[in-house]
Symmetry: C2
DNA sequence: AACTAATTTAAACAAATGTTTAATTTAATT
DNA sequence: AATTAAATTAAACATTTGTTTAAATTAGTT
């Protein structure tokens, strides 16, 4: 789908308000004001509030698995290297698209919008499939222990990152980082998180030697 | 706070509807109907919808850290044994109080209710403090590696469990467990999760030997 | 039985909700 | 310049929202 500037502005404002006030907590008037457009423009362009939500998810999740798919085909990398790139990619993605991932959690919990739910289910299936392949490949090459559940591994990665982000103020205080600006803090979190998750993965996936 | 039967019924119904429809998505009429009481009873007993939300959090979080505090004082256990009990306790708690923990995630993300936010912040602080002490103790006894961040460890535990629960339908399908009943499935998840998290913790906390 | 306090009710309140309308302005095409 | 299509607007629409009211009922006390 190709959106014009005004449509993109509405999508961004809606994503922002949905993520910090919730779907029902953010009114179309709120969204219109934030986007600087008339209320009627939302129905005009997207049909309804519900379809606006769907449009957010469709636009934000398109070409999401492509990067991982390309990575898996790369023959020059070891399974562990590939896995580390997957971690880098996911942590970075969640951090840079924080709002959308917050929205995603809510939608996964509530399951109010059928279209969104089905879109996310397809995405989860695809992701599990790709990670499963990577694990199987590593297993065959004696790089990973056998019998690792890709879903569990995925949940640890995503869960850790999201939980850290949901509690990032608490993390900031606990680690005495109050003086850091938002961008610096995000950078630090990204480094800490990728390191932590890679350690976790290596520890349970690799053979001790 | 001591609540009578009718108040408890309202609290339960509100928790249920808030967790599956969101705070703004669940109307006081919905809640009253679910609880089988007149709409006005909510204002009568709790003052307002907002204060009803606060009452849920206050009633569900009281005496939450006591168990962990008692555990830490127990001199007969090794730091690793204590940590494993903490994991058992948290996984079980989240699984048996799924609704409330869903609510908690939402509230942590939105931060709309100041009273709830402050209550949760105090809880996080206390939890980090307790886990930090346990890690320090294990460090001194040469059971754990030094320099582990308690917040990061906590986020991995809570994040993994919550993420698994948010995606439990997907987990069910991926592991071909569709025939299992809800209770059986929960039991299986509990076992899988505690095992997985304990493995993670041991792998990054203990010295290789 | 009489009285008081607590509970429960249906109805009403204003405010806010998502969506639509019909008129107007802007842009594009002929 | 005239015509058509697209974009934008303020106002109105019917519902739904959280809360309050004032009357009715129930329970507890004297």
């Amino acid at each position: 789908m190709n959106y014009n500037d005004k449509q993109l502005q509405i999508l961004n404002s809606a994503e922002k308000l949905f993520s910090c006030k919730g779907y029902d907590g953010a009114s179309v008037r709120d969204i219109a004001e934030e986007a600087g457009v008339n209320i009627a423009m939302i129905s005009y362009y997207f049909g309804s509030k519900e379809k606006l939500m769907q449009a957010i998810f469709e636009s934000r999740t398109s070409q999401l698995t492509e990067k991982i798919e390309g990575l898996l085909k790369n023959e020059g990398l070891t399974p562990l290297q590939k896995l580390e790139i997957v971690v880098d990619d996911y942590v970075d993605r969640i951090i840079s698209k924080e709002r959308f991932y917050k929205l995603m959690i809510c939608e996964q919990m509530m399951e109010k919008n059928t279209v969104v739910t089905e879109l996310l289910n397809a995405l989860k299936k695809k992701n599990t499939e790709l990670l499963g392949k990577l694990l199987k490949d590593g297993e065959q090459k004696k790089a990973f222990k056998p019998g690792i559940d890709p879903v569990m591994l995925f949940n640890t990665m995503i869960g850790t990152v999201l939980q850290t982000f949901i509690n990032k103020d608490h993390y900031k205080i606990q680690n005495h980082l109050e003086q850091l600006g938002e961008e610096e803090f995000k950078k630090l979190l990204l480094e800490k998180l990728t390191k932590h998750i890679k350690e976790l993965f290596k520890a349970i996936l690799q053979y001790e030697d």
